[in-house]
Amino acid sequence: MSNIKIKSKNLNVYYGQKQALFDVNLDINEKEVTALIGPSGCGKSTFIRCINRMNDVIDICKVEGNIEIDGIEVNDKELDVVSLRERVGMVFQKPNPFPKSIYDNISYGPKIHGKGETKSELDEIVEKSLRKAALWEEVKDRLDEPGTGLSGGQQQRLCIARAISVNPEVILMDEPCSALDPIATAKIEELIDELKKTYTIVIVTHSMAQAVRVSQKTGFFHLGKVIEVGKTEKIFKNPDNKMTQDYITGRFG
């Protein structure tokens, strides 16, 4: 049994008057892929955005309850968000490379966190990150070209490389394949499989097949509540809850 990396306790989130999450209790294991599934608007993305405090960006969003990473409270007002986000990287639904060169896209994070003082150290980080994201071979000869010029799948891998560049412990992925074609999706899934050796990964997905393929643990969300959490195999073969059963067999959602 692997260690628990992230632990949420009675997490409630509000957008203005509207409550988006209700008493979410969820444990995420270290160096494993945890998939979050559920119909649109059920709070999956809201939940993972709590882990790196990205909800701070939204003015009307209010978070109550606890999330701990390695026993450290994330919602602590005293906590340094910058170092939290250094430890918890994120990949978004739509590839969002910066309007900079491929090289600068990757070196952006390390520079911000004061890693890689010299050019050669930076070069090394860039190469290592791109290799880990399985993009190096494709872009090594055009590192100074704009990242926005890559194909959709390459852009998403660039964004993964960017997240890896600061050497985080956790990577959050918010439907990372929803804007990609099946081939690019397969590549990303392969990559996720490889990355889980080093990182704890939480992935939000709308594709049951994807959840089955990449994850070890699955959580089913519905209307802001966690309905069922368990080993992926169990959730998809033999769920305890009727609602989970209905969702994964496509009867609603």
């Binding site: 790196n52 990205m54 960006v57 003015d59 968000v81 910058v82 170092s83 939290l84 986000r85 250094e86 990287g89 994120m90 978004f92 739509k94 969002n96 490379p97 910066f98 309007p99 900079k100 952006y108 994070g109 911000i112 966190h113 926005t148 964004c159 960017r162 997240a163 560049s165 600061v166």
Partner: protein, 467 residues
């Protein structure tokens, strides 16, 4: 007279609307046929057909009538023995004849003028009568034509669409033709100017003193006179002064405008934004003449006094005062345009940057601004073209002497100021001095055209990237 005619045509054609509508309805019922369009389209069809040809005819007639009558009258006056040497004198006589006809002429009326005034009245009467007859003819013809059409159940909807399209096209044509007209008049007057003054003497001359050029008639200029005025039209001091003041203005406006744009777009809460944005935009609504006297009466003297207390000689009209105030005038343009482009940078880019641990200012500096840069450059270029075209502030606060200087405390002058100076008061229209204003106008026009083109390209390129 014309107003009465327009009124009659309008009333008549509008009343035809109801006729056309009910007529086609009854035709459709009587003959039991399906109309090709809704009855109201037949009404529109009649209205358009009966009003437009007549109104166009009236317009064209009113444009040409005075010209034709004038030439006829001048010719008859000449035949009767009136003497005039050139066009101006002919015009004078024509004006006299008109005044006599209206009974507002108080002078000696000789027999020639009297005769001419009588024939003027005759012609005027003839023209008016034939105008009325012709218009009635046109209206009747178009009523007969269009009634015949609708009785044959024509495709009135398509025809109405076509006529409306034609009307809209005509409106845009007027706008385009006006622009072309202005450009060509600038161009032709400038060509006249450059036929006297060498274009290279103009473009590269360093001395601007058009008041030296007294020559009244450019076509009869002597070589001695030409030698005298040849180097009076040097463009360099003007473009130097213009650029210098624009530069000072940009030094003020770009940082303040850009920073306030960033604040509005990234930091200000909805509440603050809702209040402060309109206030900044009020700045853009202040008439430039108000800025002008503020610059001339407050800022200029203030700089002079401040300079004196420091032991500097500051002229009361200075490039610094004009540039500073112009910069303040331009702030809202840069601020609101860059606010817009920064706002249209997708939130996903900011999220990507925050998610990796960047702070707000790091994100703005390294992601948002680079992404918005083409748009920001575009807004700055638009502001520059405003700055070099701005007139009132510099006329009031920059000075008139064309000094070639880079001392901001000195008075200097700009292209627009000189155009104003050349054209105020009574002018000989064919002297090189007056024509030089057109050359300046043309140069200014080309400069702002190029700037605007580059700016719009930059903004457009930026939009394509993120749409």
């Amino acid at each position: 007279m014309n107003l009465v005619l327009i009124f009659l045509i309008t009333i008549f054609s509008l009343s035809l609307f109801f006729y056309g509508r009910s007529k086609t309805k009854s035709i459709s019922i009587q003959n039991n046929i399906k109309l090709n369009a809704l009855p109201k389209f037949y009404g529109y069809y009649l209205v358009l057909w009966c009003s437009i040809p007549a109104l166009i005819f009236l317009l064209v007639w009113s444009l040409f009538e005075p010209v034709i009558i004038k030439s006829i009258i001048i010719e008859t006056a000449a035949n009767q023995g009136a003497i005039f040497n050139d066009k101006n004198e002919a015009n004078l006589i024509y004006e006299k004849i008109k005044a006599i006809h209206l009974g507002t002429f108080f002078g000696d009326i000789d027999s020639i003028l009297k005769e001419s005034a009588i024939s003027y009245a005759k012609f005027l009467n003839l023209f008016t009568n034939s105008k009325i007859v012709l218009i009635f003819g046109i209206v009747i013809a178009s009523v007969i034509y269009s009634l015949k059409k609708i009785k044959n159940n024509n495709k009135a909807r398509d025809d109405v669409e076509l006529i409306l399209k034609g009307l809209l096209f005509a409106s845009s044509l007027i706008a385009i033709l006006t622009t072309l007209g202005i450009i060509f008049s600038l161009l032709f007057e400038s060509i006249k100017f450059f036929s006297v003054i060498n274009i290279f003497d103009y473009l590269f001359g360093t001395n601007w003193s058009p008041q030296r050029a007294f020559v009244s008639d450019a076509s009869k200029i002597t070589s001695a006179e030409l030698e005298e005025i040849k180097d009076a039209f040097g463009f360099i001091p003007l473009i130097a002064g213009t650029s210098f003041i624009a530069l000072i203005a940009m030094l003020v406006a770009v940082p303040i405008g850009l920073f306030s744009g960033i604040y509005m777009a990234e930091y200000a809460s909805v509440k603050v934004r809702r209040i402060s944005k309109p206030i900044i935009e009020i700045l853009a609504g202040i008439p430039t003449v108000v800025y002008g006297f503020f610059a001339a009466l407050t800022v200029g003297p203030f700089f002079r006094q401040a300079g004196e207390s420091l032991g500097l000689t500051v002229s009361s009209e200075s490039a610094l005062a004009a540039g500073l105030i112009m910069g303040i005038m331009i702030i809202p343009y840069i601020s609101s345009l860059s606010d817009d482009v920064i706002n249209s940078v997708p939130q996903s880019l900011r999220d990507g940057s925050y998610a990796i641990g960047a702070t707000k200012s790091e994100t703005i500096k390294q992601v948002v601004i680079p992404a918005a840069l083409p748009g920001i450059i575009g807004s700055v270029l638009l502001a520059v073209s405003r700055a070099i075209g701005e007139t009132m502030i510099v006329v009031m606060a920059a000075g008139l002497a064309a000094n070639l200087t880079i001392n901001p405390l000195d008075s200097t002058t700009t292209i627009t100021t000189q155009i104003v100076m050349i054209l105020v008061g009574d002018q000989e229209f064919d002297s090189p001095k007056t024509q030089s204003a057109f050359a300046l106008g043309l140069t200014l026009f080309i400069a702002t055209l190029i700037l605007n083109y580059i700016a719009q390209r930059a903004v457009k390129k930026y939009r394509e990237k993120y749409d």
